[in-house]
């Protein structure tokens, strides 16, 4: 019962948005290629039916691969820079610069280097999603109370023990926050990869739809991209709750995004 009570505000805001949209369509009667009504979008969504799986799966594939590779490299990178002073000093300025450079601008170049296909899309998704994972994980590994580290030294804990029993669990909330950000970025990266060069996928459909004034198809594709993003985010959130039960739901990093 309490679950329902907490669910209604967001449901209500979605409903309001949809109502305003449909209301605008009824009142202003814009051409369907400018602003299609919900009915037209729904119609197109159904009409396109058998073609969706191919494109949805292609986009999901790019997102998941890009995301997973970003996580693996991000964590590895974070551990490396936390434990190697030289490495940290060597690559931190480089990382900061790369973080600021809009990776999206590299999309056309990636396409020329990697050719059309999964490799480009995954690379772009990875490039964009990588940094939040790296930085958040690094911060989480490092942000241990100095007193706690003193305590570890006084009880003569081995560095391995300190890593696995102190730094690693401590970093989990930060790590998951990084994952959540990275998941949304991986979605963006994959779609942009499809904008720039692909013959399949929801991003590709959006471009086709725009060029052919098939706005209902474009909006339906955007809707599906959002669903994919939400599902991924939700899965990560669920895993996070499972892995970090000590972080209360109201407070903590989960509350921020």
């Amino acid at each position: 019962m309490e679950r329902l009570a907490r669910a209604w505000p967001p449901v209500l805001s979605f409903a309001v948005v949809l109502l305003v949209w449909q209301g605008a369509v009824w009142i202003f009667r814009p051409a369907p290629f400018l602003l299609p009504g919900l009915d037209r979008v729904g119609q197109r969504l159904v009409e396109f039916g058998p073609n969706w799986p191919k494109h949805v799966l292609a986009t999901v594939e790019s997102i998941l691969l890009g995301f997973l590779i970003a996580v693996v490299f991000g964590v590895a990178g974070a551990v490396a820079i936390v434990y190697s002073e030289t490495l940290r000093r060597a690559i931190t300025p480089l990382l900061v610069t790369l973080q600021i450079v809009p990776k999206i601008a590299f999309a056309p170049l990636v396409l020329v280097w990697f050719g059309i296909g999964l490799a480009s899309k995954v690379t772009i998704a990875f490039l964009i999603a990588f940094f939040p994972v790296l930085i958040n994980t690094a911060v989480g590994l490092v942000q241990v109370e100095p007193d706690l580290l003193d305590l570890a030294r006084s009880i003569k804990a081995s560095p391995t023990w300190v890593f696995f029993k102190i730094r690693f669990p401590n970093s989990l909330p930060y790590f998951f926050a990084g994952l959540r950000v990275a998941s949304t970025l991986a979605v963006i990266g994959a779609v942009i990869g499809e904008f720039v060069g692909s013959d399949v996928g929801l991003g590709y459909l959006i471009v086709i739809a725009n060029n052919q004034l098939d706005t209902p198809l474009g909006i339906a594709s955007i809707f599906l991209v959002s669903v994919i993003g939400l599902v991924l985010y939700g899965v990560i959130l669920a895993v996070e709750r499972l892995c970090t039960p000590w972080v209360s739901a109201e407070g903590g990093l989960q509350a921020l995004i």
Partner: protein
Amino acid sequence: MRLGSALLGVLALLVAPLTGHAAEKVTIVLDFTISGYHAPFFAAQDKGYFAEQGLEVQIGRGYGSGDTVKKVAAGVADVGFNHPAPLIIANADGGNLRTVMGYLNQEMCAVYSAVENGNVRTPKDIEGKVWGGPPGDVCSIMLTALAEKAGFDLGKVKMQQMDAPQRLPMLATGQITATGSFFDKDILFKKALEQAGKKMATFRYAQYMSMYSNAVTVAQTTIDKRPEMVGKVVTALLKGFKFTIANPAEAAAIVSKLYPEVDKEYVRASVDTLLEGMWDETTKAKGIGIIDAKKMQETRDTVVKYWKLKTEPPLDAIYTNRFIEAAHKSVR
């Protein structure tokens, strides 16, 4: 009486600002990135042809003809410059837009390939190639029409979708072996291939098919509410055309000054493209920008067929010669 009207003209120009006559603002959106074939627009602006009629014009680049059509339909742009296909598609879907002046009156697409890997000189050569192009791009979709009219099997062509600017590097590196684009880009393809040590092979769709290409678009509601403005824009563009025809190098320089980041050689060469593409039998006989009903009908039917439209928009709602004919009368 000449001196008298000249004096009156000077007086009017002096008085006009004093009467607080604010210039009418007009937004023009082009089709895509800046090319020398846009020269008439910029020449008209630079030489004051808009201003002398009391128009304050803002000209912006486009993001694809489809996008331009949407902007005109939504009222974000007063005037658009775009390919007829999205206009016809829009009109088939409840839109009410009109071409008010012909501009590029030949089919503008050309096929490009490298001599070293592809060497596409006739449509039949396209078979077996890897074709790269933006999804929904005019030249890629028209390939179906070309296949029918010139007689080759489109099934034997591998289609690769990519963003428009990618075509150049992809062709140069051989990742695609043929592509299509408006032929103003001849020089850009040639240079890109040269960088990879290759030579360019090309031929034009116009050898095999005839239809209208990019033209000036206005929403019907704008025609109803601001007919004088539309007339003034067309008049100024006509003068811009005449200037460009007489002074192509200077017209190119005007564009390059505004957009120094665009390859200057390309700008100059694409002005020549305009001087070629603007002419067809109708315009030669009747005047710059005049649209022929039969050719527009063919254009409409081609779009309906190859873009698989469900309804056929009425022909007389797609274009009008009213403004360009009036312009010819006032511009001697």
